[in-house]
Symmetry: C2
Subunit: 372 residues, 2 copies
């Protein structure tokens, strides 16, 4: 094993305009990424990892700031996605606030910070942006694209858009589109941000403020939906913060309140408000069946040469197993090879980020078979 050092954050600039689904184009952009392991001689062992809402290119290891990658329990030497065998690429999407070109950067056309004028992104746009990175890295075909939640949507979109450029798709805790309830939660979070007086129509950078109130509320709502009801009851239940009730509408009475406020505060310190709007919108818009009259099986026709692993978690009420099964059915209808694991896990949507033995066992087995 090579000596362990901090993961190096790399970046690549793309000067050709990227056409976007909204009709506009991103004139030029930079992608931040990191790699783990070694690309083999025939360049056949590359695995692209796509990120979800609050994540980045930093998928594994420890970076120069001491931060551990968000999927470090899954990716690394000897881990289920074994970097001694695979060349793993973590990439940060345009519109993000973790390094790639985003709303906090300067729009070269105007010389001013993009802010709310950053063009609206879709899952398909991100996949197209990622493809150029793969091109530049000289990889003709990825061994796999992997992602959870919104990352899973990107993994799926690769097989619909560039099926010849990827062999396997591993999509965890994802859905073929958002339900009305999913959109509703996103919309409340967006309204909390947009109506924060410090949002300034999305141009808060110029005012030297951040719409922290809105970001806090958005994050609190998110957290509730990432956890299962049961997990929340097990972890917090009705436990009080202090021995006695304060009988106050504003003080913290219950531990769950303390946890949520802490999560909200922390998030508001580092996450960009425009990025939150952009990423939740990309989630809302993703709907590959829409162009096929709602027929998901038709949508997956281009993916007939690909192979899939779908994983869902029993207590995930944000992207429930039923949503993964819709995808499985669409694949089976196309006679596409698909493995599907429905993991009995108590942690809700968050389970895809956690180290569950059965879940990681399935992932390890799939990647071992994939390599063989």
């Amino acid at each position: 094993m090579p000596p362990t050092g901090p993961v190096i954050t790399q970046q690549m600039h793309f000067s050709a305009p990227l056409p976007l689904k909204c009709g506009a184009a991103l004139a030029d952009y930079t992608l931040v990424y990191e790699t783990h392991g070694t690309l083999n001689a025939d360049r056949s062992n590359a695995v692209l990892v796509c990120h979800a809402l609050n994540a980045s290119h930093h998928v594994a290891g420890v970076d120069a700031q001491g931060a551990v990658g968000w999927w470090d329990n899954l990716i690394g030497p000897g881990k289920p996605l074994d970097t001694e065998r695979f060349f793993v690429i973590g990439v940060n999407n345009p519109g993000s606030c973790f390094g790639s070109t985003g709303p906090m950067h300067v729009n070269p056309a105007t010389g001013r910070v993009w802010g709310a004028d950053f063009p609206v992104q879709t899952v398909e746009d991100w996949v197209d942006a990622q493809l150029r990175l793969i091109d530049r890295l000289g990889i003709a075909q990825l061994a796999a694209v992997v992602g959870g939640s919104l990352g899973g949507m990107q993994a799926l979109a690769w097989t619909l858009r560039h099926p010849e450029r990827v062999r396997h798709c591993v999509a965890v805790a994802t859905a073929p589109n958002l339900s009305a309830q999913n959109i509703a939660f996103n919309e409340v979070a967006r309204r909390a941000i947009v109506t924060d007086p410090d949002f300034h129509g999305g141009h808060f950078y110029a005012h030297g403020v951040v719409p922290k109130r809105g970001l806090r509320v958005a994050r609190m709502i998110g957290h509730i939906t990432y956890l299962s009801d049961d997990a929340m009851d097990l972890k917090f239940g009705r436990a009080l913060r202090n021995a006695e009730l304060a009988f106050s509408t504003q003080a913290i009475e219950f531990q769950i309140e303390s946890y949520l406020r802490y999560q909200g505060d922390k998030f508001s310190e580092y996450f960009d408000a425009n990025t939150y709007l952009l990423i939740t919108r990309a989630l809302d818009y993703f709907d590959p069946a829409a162009e096929h009259g709602g027929n998901l099986a038709r949508a997956f026709e281009p993916a007939r040469a690909n192979r899939f692993l779908l994983v869902s978690f029993t207590t995930d009420w944000r992207f429930s197993p039923a949503r993964s099964r819709e995808i499985v059915k669409a694949l089976v209808d196309n006679r596409i090879a698909v493995s599907y694991a429905e993991i009995a896990a108590p942690h809700g949507h968050d389970a895809f980020l956690l180290d569950d033995a059965r879940y990681h066992g399935v992932m390890r087995a799939y990647f071992e078979r994939l390599q063989a």
Copy 2:
């Protein structure tokens, strides 16, 4: 049948201080209420109806403002709770914004509007306040106390606190306490209100403003939790507002967004922010088992002479059938007579307000048997 006129809103003033669970007392207070039907000669046919978060004393008929009562499909001549047989009393709780003494009124001790200083209310306090109204109306024993959701908690509390003053308890879509997830949703709503710059620490009245942004977000969150995922998908799905996507993070793209914004706007026009904080806190605090080491059966021992009807709805994920079953079990453990109906209804928590044939059939049968 008497000629139909507008329902008359009545009020009663209580000058004796009401001791509250928080340790303070409400020095004096006024309750707003309305009645339907006629109290019989032996005063044995009175039914008290308790309200939930966004409701009031106006339970049935049309008031002078032309508003239809919130449970008008259930209560009235010939309806399941038949006002030709029962004398139905709808009462508005202290702390509300629909007429009874609340945070928007003047604190007689200071000569200033209560605002955030209005004493924190509990379900038990409300029941004690309601008892005084029943006393004043000369009713020794209620035939029944009825309520849904938070109203159901009040109905339960009557049997724990004043079991000799009521014969039957009808508790619909309720729970023995809030889960961590329930509290979490309340807390996000409260944070949205409290961090709205127009909240002014709860003393916004003096500033001539209303924290509408916070109220809108609170109401949107509430609405999501009142509806089932399925009901939302059936009613809105992914239907777009316009023929084409606007590709905007702030415009309304989906019908569900339009619905939620409308509900939020409407609510922010009439609901009081301090009332919202007070009522969600009363929900959080309700936990009759807590004083008995978490043993709900022990908590219900005082209710051994009462009879119960519990109703839940299969798609209610806010107060799920499992929570009603906890109450049923505690009653059965005490050999207390309980009827329990679990209604297959698609509408989520909102089902308790809707006109479902099976639900109303159960209610009608119970009240008919109760009277016989």
